[in-house]
Symmetry: C2
Subunit: 299 residues, 2 copies
C-alpha cells in the first residue's frame, strides 16, 4: 500500500483522471476512466471515484476535484465564483458521500455577468500555469471544444470569452453537406494559413466561405484534406477576428497539447503574435496542487 496524502481529480464531461499524491507532493500513482460527468447520474459519482482510487487508500482521505463534476448536472453543484476574482476561489463545495472517511472537495468554476460566460476546470489549469510562471500577466488561450480566452492580471481573472470553434468544427464536418467534402484527418499548412488570412482581412465574409469548400470540391477537384485545413482555418480565423481585443498587443500563453495547440500558435503567428505553449495535463495537476495547498491552509 502506497502512503497517499490526498487525491487529485480532473473530472470532465467525458473523462475522469486521478493522481495519488504523497506528503512531499510527488505523484505516487495515476489512473483514468471514461466515467465522465456526462455519463453519470448523481448517485454514480461516488462509486466511480472509489473504483478509481480504491487500491491507493486504506483510511480517511481527501480528494480535490476540478471540472464538470461541479456542474448542475454533476455530482453536486459548486456555485460559480464571479470574475474579476482570484483564479482559485476561496470556497470549495463538499460533495455528499456515504463512505466513512472519504471527503471530496470540488473547486468552483468561474462566471462572468456581461457578456455572460462560464468555465469549469480551465480555472485550475490557469492556476497551474501561474504557479509555473509566477507573476505572469497577459492572455491565456485554452483551445478545445469550447476554447477559452482569458485575461489575467495580478493573479486574477479579469475577463474571459468562450468560443465554440471545436464544437462547430465537429458539427459542420459531421452533420452538414460538408461531410462529403472534409476528410476525417490529414492537414495542409498552406491552406490553413490562407484561410486564416482571408478570415482576418474580411471577417464579414465568413459565412460565405463555407459552401465554397463543397463547390470547389465539385468543380475544381479540391481534395478533402485541403478542405479540412481550410475549414479549420476559416473557423479559427473567425475566432481570431472575434477575439482580437484579447490577443492584439498582449503577451499570449496557450494551454494545450499536440496538433490543436500547434495550429492555434501557427494562426497567431500569421498575425505576428508569438505564443508560449504550456502542456494542459501538467498545468492541471500543478493547479490542483496549488488549490490543495490553499485549501489546507484554511483548515
Amino acid at each position: 500500500m502506497i502512503d497517499v496524502d490526498w487525491i487529485a481529480l480532473d473530472w470532465g464531461t467525458t473523462n475522469l483522471r486521478g493522481w495519488a499524491i504523497g506528503a512531499d507532493g510527488a505523484v505516487l500513482a495515476e489512473a483514468q476512466s471514461d466515467r465522465g460527468m456526462g455519463t453519470l447520474a448523481p448517485h454514480d459519482f461516488e462509486p466511480a471515484v472509489l473504483d478509481l482510487i480504491n487500491d491507493w487508500i486504506d483510511g480517511p482521505i481527501t480528494a480535490l476535484a476540478c471540472g464538470m463534476v461541479g456542474a448542475k448536472q454533476g455530482w453536486t453543484e459548486a456555485a460559480y465564483a464571479r470574475v474579476p476574482c482570484a483564479v482559485i476561489p476561496d470556497d470549495f463545495t463538499t460533495a455528499p458521500t456515504k463512505t466513512p472517511g472519504l471527503s471530496v472537495q470540488i473547486i468552483p468554476g468561474l462566471s462572468q455577468a456581461k457578456p455572460a460566460d462560464v468555465m469549469r476546470g480551465e480555472e485550475t489549469q490557469i492556476a497551474g500555469f501561474l504557479a509555473r510562471n509566477p507573476g505572469w500577466d497577459g492572455v491565456l488561450c485554452l483551445p478545445g471544444t469550447h476554447t477559452k480566452w482569458v485575461h489575467i492580471s495580478a493573479g486574477e481573472v479579469v475577463s474571459f470569452q468562450t468560443m465554440m470553434t471545436g464544437d462547430l468544427f465537429a458539427a459542420i464536418a459531421g452533420h452538414t453537406v460538408l461531410r462529403h467534402s472534409v476528410a476525417p484527418q490529414g492537414w495542409d499548412d498552406g491552406a490553413f494559413e490562407t484561410a486564416i488570412d482571408a478570415a482576418l482581412s474580411r471577417p464579414e465574409r465568413m459565412a460565405g466561405r463555407l459552401f465554397s469548400l463543397r463547390a470547389e470540391g465539385l468543380l475544381a477537384g479540391m481534395d478533402a484534406v485541403t478542405a479540412r485545413a481550410r475549414l479549420s482555418g476559416t473557423l479559427i480565423g473567425a475566432e481570431l477576428a472575434a477575439t482580437k481585443p484579447y490577443w492584439l498587443g498582449q503577451q499570449i500563453g496557450i494551454i494545450g497539447a499536440g496538433h490543436l495547440a500547434d495550429i492555434y500558435a501557427k494562426a497567431l503567428a500569421t498575425q505576428g503574435v508569438i505564443a508560449q505553449i504550456a502542456d494542459n495535463t501538467d498545468v492541471t495537476l500543478v493547479g490542483l496542487k496549488a488549490a490543495y495547498a490553499k485549501w489546507k491552509d484554511r483548515q
Copy 2:
C-alpha cells in the same frame, strides 16, 4: 383517363413532386412522394417516376425534371451550364429509360467558376419568377438549407452565391452544446431583430456570439425560444453581412414560403430593403412550363 400532354417533375434530394399537364397548360393532376434523389440508386429512378405517374398515362409521354435528379449521384448527370448564361440553358440531358415511350429530360443546373458555386433546381424557380415578372432585373434570394443569392440581368444569371445558413442552423441546434439551449420551435421577433442588427453592425464578432446563448441560459435564465430566434438572427445576420454586395441598393425578390421567407423579408427590412415574396411551389411549376415550351420549340 386524363388527357396528359406532358409531365412536370420537381425532383430534389428529399422529395419528388409531379404534375400532369394538359395541352392547354392546365394542371390535370398532381402527386408527390418521399423518393428524393438522396434515397435512390440509379436504377431506382425509373420505377419511382412510374409509380408517381402511372395512373396518368396510357401512351408515349415526355417528362421534364429539375433538381438534384441531375446530380452526379442522381439518375444521370446533367452537366452544369456556366454563368453568365440564360436561366434555363439550351441543352437538356436525356435520362436512360427502359419503358417504351417514356422520355425523361433533365434541366441542367448552373455553375460558377469563381467564386466556385453550384445550383440545381433553383434555376427553374428563377425562370418561373421571370415568367411571372417579365423583364425583371435585380437580385433573387432563395432561402433554404443552402440559400442562394442570384444576380439577374436581362434574363440571364450574372453571378450567384450559396450560403449554408439553414444547414448550419440545423447542425448547431442539433449537434453542439446549444442543443440544450435552443427550443425545437417557437419564435421571438424582438430577439431575432436584435441579433440581425448586432451581426450587421459588428460582423467580425459573429463567432463570439454563439456560446453566449448557452451562458445566458445558465446565468440569466434566457429561455429556449428566445435562444432559437437569436441563433437564427445571428446566422441570417452573418449571411446578410457576407452578401451585402448582393442586396445593398438592389431590387430584391424572395422565392420561398411560410416562416422562412417571412424572416428573410423581416431581416432585410431591418436594413431598409423591401423584398417582394414569390411562392416557391408556384414559380417551380411556372418555370418547368417555361422550360418545356423552350424544349418543344427546338424539337
